[in-house]
């Protein structure tokens, strides 16, 4: 029985909604059943095409996801029959298709497919930039063009990165599996690192005309939530807490004009209170579960900032102490720099300057614009204008981010007289 126009419009809207909420699930399951990313993508496409033809006529199936998975799989079987003469598919796909899947379509085990997909996309055999690109495209469903825009890359460059990564997965037969418990900690590290990279590129854009790229941070938070839901790993919880607490400051970090606002001058009422509340609960949960780790310490630092009602009230001593611990488990010049800022706030600017100069004297961070702008700011605070100007100029020349350059330019003008 054909539906009338109004009903078929409703069905199309329903298919749209299923696409938005389930297409990545269906894709993940198809990758497992078919053993190949590209074949799975074609199957996904065909499955939704079949849904557009059949659902308006037959109604929406009880379990749309299972329907789509089996429709996609049948389309591949059809396609194999049609084109076997010219482009036979690899043998392993035919082997996969011979398996009876009727038991697998009722939801049991299907949740794990998304996790398998994440672990495959973040496999350590793939270069880090390819892990990021693949995760955003295959797990989050972003298009190549969207990812390229977010990372300020040319679309063909990114497209080739994805093609190469998929070829590598196929040729090296990278397994589509959740790692075994003995491998899990290492592999989880690599997944969390990819999510954190995506978040950081969204939160501290490395170059370009805009200070942040919210679409990337949002995807990272979505991925973080997914990991917390799927993986019983305290570190996933800590990373989510960190991202929420950082993200809560986004609207306070820049003016509507796009200009940068320093932490001290940020309007704390602009912070996202829901994110802060959720982040604080997660930090407490994380800290009660285990000892301090890389993400939980940074989340704890972000929590101190988030709890303070203004700059003066920020617990500088507590923050400096947390940085001490962070530095001891994860030595890094950038963390040293952050600690120097906390020490400058706790004690005085000269103490902070001594720490920064020590880092630079080792030859580290000399090309990092934030090391020079921090140094400049501390000199400015104690009225040593010549040194401040010299450092602002260094920072200006090193920065690739337009709002930051404008900010540094203004500082230089202020210090001119």
């Amino acid at each position: 029985m054909a539906l009338n126009g109004n009903d078929s419009k409703k069905v199309c809207e329903a298919i749209d909604a299923v696409y938005r909420s389930h297409s990545r699930h269906v894709f993940a399951t198809l990758v497992r059943l078919l053993g190949d990313f590209d074949v799975a993508e074609e199957a996904l496409y065909d499955a939704f095409k079949a849904a557009l033809e059949k659902w308006p006529r037959d109604g929406i199936p009880v379990n749309p996801r299972a329907w789509l998975v089996s429709a996609g799989r049948f389309k591949v079987i059809d396609a194999i029959r049609c084109r076997v003469r010219f482009e036979p598919l690899p043998d392993y796909i035919e082997e996969q298709l011979a398996v009876d899947i009727s038991d697998e379509l009722d939801g049991e085990g299907i949740e794990d497919d998304r996790l398998r997909l994440i672990f495959t996309c973040c496999h350590p055999a793939l270069p880090s930039d390819a892990q990021v690109a693949l995760t955003l495209r295959e797990v989050c469903g972003l298009t190549t063009e969207e990812i390229a825009r977010a990372f300020l890359l040319a679309a063909p460059t990114l497209a080739q990165r994805i093609v190469r990564a998929k070829t590598k997965i196929r040729d090296a037969r990278i397994p589509y599996l959740v790692p075994t418990p003995d491998m899990l900690p290492d592999r989880v590290d690599s997944v969390l690192r990819v999510v954190y990279l995506i978040f950081n590129e969204g939160y501290f854009a490395s170059s370009g005309g805009s200070l942040t790229r919210p679409e990337l941070s949002e995807e990272a938070i979505r991925l973080g939530r997914l990991l917390v839901e799927l993986l019983p790993d305290p570190e996933a919880l800590e990373l989510l807490a960190l991202m929420l607490l950082q993200e809560s400051r986004r609207s306070a970090r820049s003016l509507p004009s796009g200009d940068l606002v320093l932490l001290d001058d940020q309007d704390r009422s602009l912070r996202n209170k829901d994110y802060i509340a959720e982040g604080l609960i997660l930090v407490e949960q994380a800290l009660s579960l285990r000892q301090f780790g890389f993400y939980s310490l940074q989340a704890a630092i972000a929590a101190v900032h988030a709890n303070a009602s203004n700059a003066e009230a920020t617990g500088c001593a507590e923050i400096a102490g947390l940085y001490d611990v962070l530095l001891s488990i994860n030595p890094s010049p950038v963390i040293e720099l952050n600690r120097a800022v906390a020490v400058a706030m706790r004690d005085d600017p000269l103490a902070g300057l001594a720490l920064i100069d020590a880092i630079l004297a080792r030859g580290e961070l000399t090309d990092y614009h934030l090391a020079h702008s921090t140094r400049a700011d501390l000199y400015r605070r104690i009225g040593r204008i010549t040194e401040a100007r010299a450092s602002y100029e260094l920072a200006y020349n090193l920065s690739q981010l337009e709002p930051e350059r404008l900010f540094l330019e203004r500082r230089l003008l202020e210090l001119q007289g």
Binding site: R83, E87, T143, T144, A155
Partner: protein, 130 residues
């Protein structure tokens, strides 16, 4: 998004043996059927060989013509498919299945779909500008 897949090959069908050309035609029939069914297909054409080409220029209001294609290369533009794909990587996957990709190469070009272009070409939905 729309992508134009330009098929370039050194050896075009006119230069193949009859049997090879026939098989190639058959492959195109099956590929085109497949992308029609999958919904990627928007349009396609095969072009006559470059010895049928003529290049036109107008300078200071005067037209001049030269024989042959604008670019002299060994590889000739032999035909094209206009396809609809989710993104560049999906377009690449479709392009890789074009039979000509195995003989020569296929250039995948995204179609400009900015507002100004769509308006200039008369593609903008009249309702949005009414």
């Amino acid at each position: 998004m729309k992508y134009l897949c330009l098929i370039c090959a050194e050896k075009v069908m006119e230069q193949m043996t009859e049997a090879a050309a026939e098989q190639h035609f058959q492959e195109y029939t099956e590929f085109t059927d497949a992308i029609r069914t999958s919904g990627h297909y928007l349009g396609c054409n095969r072009l006559q060989p470059t010895n049928a080409a003529i290049t036109v220029r107008v300078r200071n209001g005067k037209m001049s013509t030269t024989d042959g294609p604008y670019i002299e290369t060994k590889e000739q533009l032999g035909g094209y498919y206009l396809i609809e794909a989710r993104d560049l990587n999906e377009a690449i996957q479709v392009a890789a299945r074009i039979p000509g990709a195995r003989l020569g190469c296929v250039e995948v070009r995204p179609v400009a779909e900015d507002k100004q272009t769509l308006k200039a070409l008369g593609f903008v939905d009249s309702e949005t500008f009414r």
